[in-house]
Symmetry: C2
Subunit: 335 residues, 2 copies
């Protein structure tokens, strides 16, 4: 164990700690001679300034915000986390604050690091941790999960409205026999997308038969199973709203394998607008979510929260955008 501090360096260089500090901080008013001596002493001793002490002493306000990423296996294989990290990263840079990444331990009472505030990339599995943080009155923002009950700022995607728009779009194209492949309904986004779908269908008095609602879990295998079931139906739907692009792409795969033409015989709408949606063999019509913006906004909100008197928590629902590409087509009611 080494414990070299600025005093050791000062002694070795035969100068004061002040001068050492000056050299470290590149203050110009240091004689060349002293500069040399100090630097060589630093090198000799392998000295590294203590960041905490530097901050404390210099009173640098630069806050540190903790970005908590749930340790959820899928999350690392998704387009999602990276976009959120990107958005947070950009905001953190602009706001000149540090972003501390924390892959959540799962075990809830897992220490929240020494930070001025915390932002959850997703609530998934972190409910207990959040409770404790709220209890501690630590500034916090939750992304991608709209919490009605808790007095917590959250920024999420308006999944319900987005799903309604999808239905509206499909109906406008003449579709009436519309099916859906859901995401994991334990995840709020999954549930909301289904809700919005059902609501919009009901609003148009379009019956949704049970076989037209297939439950997936955002995973490819589940999508494949659902798609196969759907396409094996005697009364095949003319359009399918799939709760994620990954699953939608897989659904297209299944359809093509069955020699169904997309979009001529089957229209498909996805959700996410992942990069490959645009370049897939059938370019996917899908819902774009402002993921990185969600991260950015969330972080900004957290920052405000830290730098101001306690206020009402903000609840933000970000709008989505339907991106029309080639996987949907007009249909006629000629069946």
């Amino acid at each position: 164990m080494k414990k070299v501090d600025i005093a050791h360096v000062a002694k070795a260089a035969r100068v004061s700690t002040t001068t050492v500090s000056r050299v470290i901080n590149r203050v110009p008013t240091v004689s060349a001679e002293n500069q040399r001596r100090v630097q060589s002493a630093i090198r000799q001793l392998g000295y590294r300034p203590n960041p905490s002490a530097q901050r404390l002493a210099s009173g640098k306000a630069k806050p540190t915000l903790g970005l908590i990423i749930p340790r959820f296996e899928g999350i690392f294989h998704s387009h999602y986390a990276l976009q959120v990290v990107k958005g947070c990263g950009i905001a953190a840079e602009r706001l000149r604050c540090d972003l501390l990444l924390h892959v959540a331990n799962g075990k809830a009472s897992d220490l929240p690091p020494s930070v001025n505030g915390v932002i959850f990339a997703d609530l998934f599995g972190c409910e207990e941790l959040l409770d404790r943080i709220v209890d501690d009155r630590l500034p916090v923002v939750v992304l991608n999960h709209y919490l009605e009950e808790l007095p917590v700022t959250c920024v999420a995607i308006d999944n319900r409205t987005a799903a309604e728009h999808v239905v509206a779009y499909l109906v406008r194209l003449g579709h009436r026999d519309i099916a859906t492949i859901t995401g994991d309904l334990k995840v709020q986004a999954g549930l909301d997308r289904l809700d919005g779908f059902m609501k919009a269908m009901k609003a148009r008095q379009l019956p949704v038969r049970d076989e037209y609602v297939r439950f997936g879990d955002f995973g490819l295998p589940s999508a494949r199973a659902a798609a196969e079931a759907l396409l094996a139906l005697k009364e095949r739907p003319t359009a399918i709203f799939v709760a994620s692009d990954d699953m939608a792409l897989e659904t297209i795969n299944v359809a093509l394998e069955k020699r169904l033409r997309v979009p001529e015989e089957l229209s498909i709408v996805g959700f996410d607008d992942i990069p490959s949606a645009a370049t897939a063999r059938v370019p996917l019509t899908t819902v774009r979510q402002p993921l990185s913006e969600m991260g950015r906004r969330g972080l900004e909100l957290l920052f405000q929260q830290i730098n101001s008197k306690p206020r009402h928590p903000t609840k933000l629902l970000l709008p989505t955008e339907l991106i029309e590409r080639g996987s949907c087509q007009q249909t006629w009611l000629d069946r």
Copy 2:
């Protein structure tokens, strides 16, 4: 601006700062009465402990490592960054150190945050920053870029050997007319994969004609152009080694559009083993890179470096693995 410190709280609660500290740190030996008073005072004043001071005073060694992510547009659309973040995140958690994410500013002399060491997710565009860090003798690790000259620890993928293995595999299947679509040659990985390819071909005295080497840049459009050029050739190759899965998948798209059957008429090998490689319509034979392990190892090395006397920088080259799936097939030399 607010400046409530522990003393204010103590005064308001009519106790000592020690007691306040105890409440904050959940030390059990505090009377219920005081506990209440302190908590209400904290709430009233909107008090938040200063993390730097907490650390400094408690002497908690918990170091903070900076993970620098180059602000390179593509990097956020790749499987790459997230895997690295994941690996680093996991290691950081095990080592109980904090991970400070820093999206590099591009502008090089961009302040390195107050950290004990720095790890670059990729060197791309951060050369100047690295120079300064090396100059400052700040512990540093560079990922995905093997630096011969600089005395810097780096952990990278053995791209060259991997490419050689691909050639060996293809030759074993009977291919002789093997083409390649390269990545961006300004990126080390791109260059090395081409080098390995050429070297292995030469070693087998298989001539590589110029038209068989097409230059891509890891982007889909470049891959499409390259693939089209290659497949329009009079003497079409029987196999193509593509420097990334994204590009390989696009190459397959092009081939299928031209009604070429894969792998019957054309074998394709990719590089990366991205998730969709396994589930693509033609499951892709590809090279798996231990990306998240690279992050983990890198971070561990950084950690060691911080906690020990200066030593030789380590240079680690991680081995890859060829994953055989359905995009390659035996061929006969009957042309």
